[in-house]
């Protein structure tokens, strides 16, 4: 697996350096203007999650999959390397983005807003969700999978808004969202913060493992 990760790092060395610089400047300029830590986390985690997507679709662009599958590595190892590298990149860029926001003089958010357990766990949960849902789509459809994901998100938002505008359904949707929120709040208060966070992490790990199993199964069936 080390060889597979090394291969991707060599292949994307320049790309990662340029994107790292670009991310740093972009997040520093725009992220520092947001005064809500939750919105900032949404913004930053989405940018972080796009990075592994770009790396993996570059492999597809360069038709590198045939080469990789011809080398001494199983398909399971290839997917495992993608998951590990994906997480390393997301975490690396998350640290970079957080440093960028905090380093800008006059940033509206300080370390107390961004470097607390609640915000960090929230960021991890978001990245885990994005990644777990998207990876099987990427493995199956490549770049098209990413667009399917983005379009599905937009359609979901559109459908939700459309349903919410119907007076008959309005109450139900709002109450459903409120119910989910209350369930999390109740879980948090009953378990206590440390156990609640640990539970969230365990659930996200389980979700990523399920996503990994699904991606391996899809990749094993592919012909090149």
């Amino acid at each position: 697996m080390r060889s597979l990760i090394l291969k991707d790092l060599i292949l994307n060395k320049k790309f990662l350096l340029w994107m790292g610089l670009l991310y740093f400047i972009y997040v520093a300029v725009f992220g520092s203007r947001i005064d809500n830590s939750r919105v900032t986390t949404f913004f930053v985690t989405f940018l972080c999650f796009v990075m592994p997507v770009m790396i993996f679709t570059r492999e597809e662009k360069f038709k590198g999959t045939v080469l990789v599958c011809s080398l001494p590595a199983t398909r399971k190892q290839i997917i495992m390397a993608r998951y590990v590298l994906g997480w390393l990149l997301m975490l690396g860029f998350f640290v970079l983005a957080t440093v960028a926001i905090l380093a800008v003089p006059g940033s509206k958010l300080g370390p107390e807003n961004l470097l607390n357990a609640r915000t960090l766990i929230f960021a991890l949960v978001l990245m885990a969700l994005y990644f777990a849902i998207l990876m099987p789509l990427l493995v199956r459809f490549g770049m098209v999978g990413f667009f399917v994901f983005l379009i599905s998100m937009q359609v979901l938002g559109f459908v939700t808004l459309a349903l919410a505008s119907q007076s008959a359904l309005k109450l139900n949707i709002r109450s459903s969202i409120a119910a989910i929120k209350n369930a999390f709040i109740s879980l948090n208060s009953n378990l206590g913060a440390p156990a609640y966070y640990a539970l969230l992490i365990v659930v996200m790990i389980a979700l990523n493992l399920a996503s990994f199993a699904c991606s391996v199964s899809i990749f094993k069936r592919k012909d090149f």
């Binding site: 090394l6 060599i10 038709k63 590198g64 080469l67 599958c69 011809s70 590595a73 199983t74």
Partner: protein, 288 residues
């Protein structure tokens, strides 16, 4: 003698094309030519060997081991050259090497750079700037640099100039001199195989027509040339393919001894080249 490769009843169905019950074996220390017209199934067999595509049935054993169960161990000892070299276009040759070398325990950097010099390939040159011939040379350098015991080449000589074709064939011949290394070499250029192959496996429309030692094939198969009066129902069924002309016919037989017995003086019987065999078996019958 141990077989480096054993394929039994291998099947793959694409809908519009199917590989049907393909079986053959390659003994260790020899070169086998996998020959057939374009679209016969040569690349499909090689892709199945390397597990680039999934089989629908059958068994592939390399070094006596199942190619699915022992994939990594087997691939560590295989050097491959695809018909289109799929290396990363934007990297220099040195960096392509850096992406591939860590996968092989026996990678030999000294040998790699020696081969680059031998093939006149500058290590700092970008892969995308190479000509097709140079890309093939580079793929061969990579395939040979980890002391692979089994080299698989898919149409390596098509589109190459005659000088490098000869160099490549000489390299492959030299490679098997230690009697440990083996080569499977797919091509539709039969002249290449006549130069270096020890065994020939002929495939057409997804089916194996024959798989045997080259000398045995060239001894058994013959082209018979004679007047049209020799053609009757019995002789037609004896031939594998017939090309009929106004003043006579040319036909292929897989039994040269029987042909000499049947037509002792009335026909000219010549040794068939691999090209003759391929021509008559794939198109010749249509001319009958």
């Amino acid at each position: 003698m141990a077989n480096v490769l054993e394929i039994k009843n291998l099947c793959k169905n694409y809908g519009d094309f199917a590989l049907k019950d393909v079986s053959f074996a390659l003994p260790q220390g020899y070169i086998m030519g996998l020959v057939g017209p374009n679209g016969a199934g040569k690349t499909t067999i090689i892709k199945l060997l390397l597990k680039l595509i999934n089989k629908d049935g059958g068994e592939v054993r390399v070094f006596g081991r199942d190619n699915i169960m022992d994939e990594v161990a087997i691939k560590s000892r295989i050097g491959f050259v695809h018909d289109t070299p799929y290396f990363y276009e934007q990297l220099s040759l040195k960096n392509v090497k850096a992406t591939v070398a860590p996968f092989y325990r026996d990678w030999d950097d000294g040998l790699f750079y020696r081969l680059l010099r031998e093939f006149n390939l500058p290590a700092k040159k970008l892969f995308r700037t190479l000509s097709r011939g140079m890309k093939m040379k580079f793929a061969l350098a990579v395939a040979l640099s980890h002391h692979a015991d089994f080299i698989i080449l898919d149409e390596p000589t098509s589109g190459l100039d005659p000088v490098f074709r000869r160099e490549l064939l000489a390299k492959l011949s030299a490679l098997i001199q230690d009697e440990k290394k083996s080569v499977l070499f797919s091509t539709h250029l039969t002249s290449d195989l006549e130069r270096i192959a020890d065994y020939i496996t002929f495939i057409n429309r997804g089916e194996i027509v024959f798989s045997a030692a080259k000398d045995e094939i060239l001894e058994k198969w013959a082209v018979v040339k004679g007047g049209n009066d020799l053609l009757n129902e019995d002789s037609r069924s004896f031939f594998k393919g017939i090309r009929k002309r106004e003043f006579g016919f040319e036909a292929l037989t897989s039994d040269a001894v029987e042909a000499r017995r049947r037509f002792p003086k009335s026909a000219v019987i010549e040794k068939a080249s691999l090209e003759d065999i391929m021509f008559y078996l794939t198109r010749g019958a249509n001319h009958a």
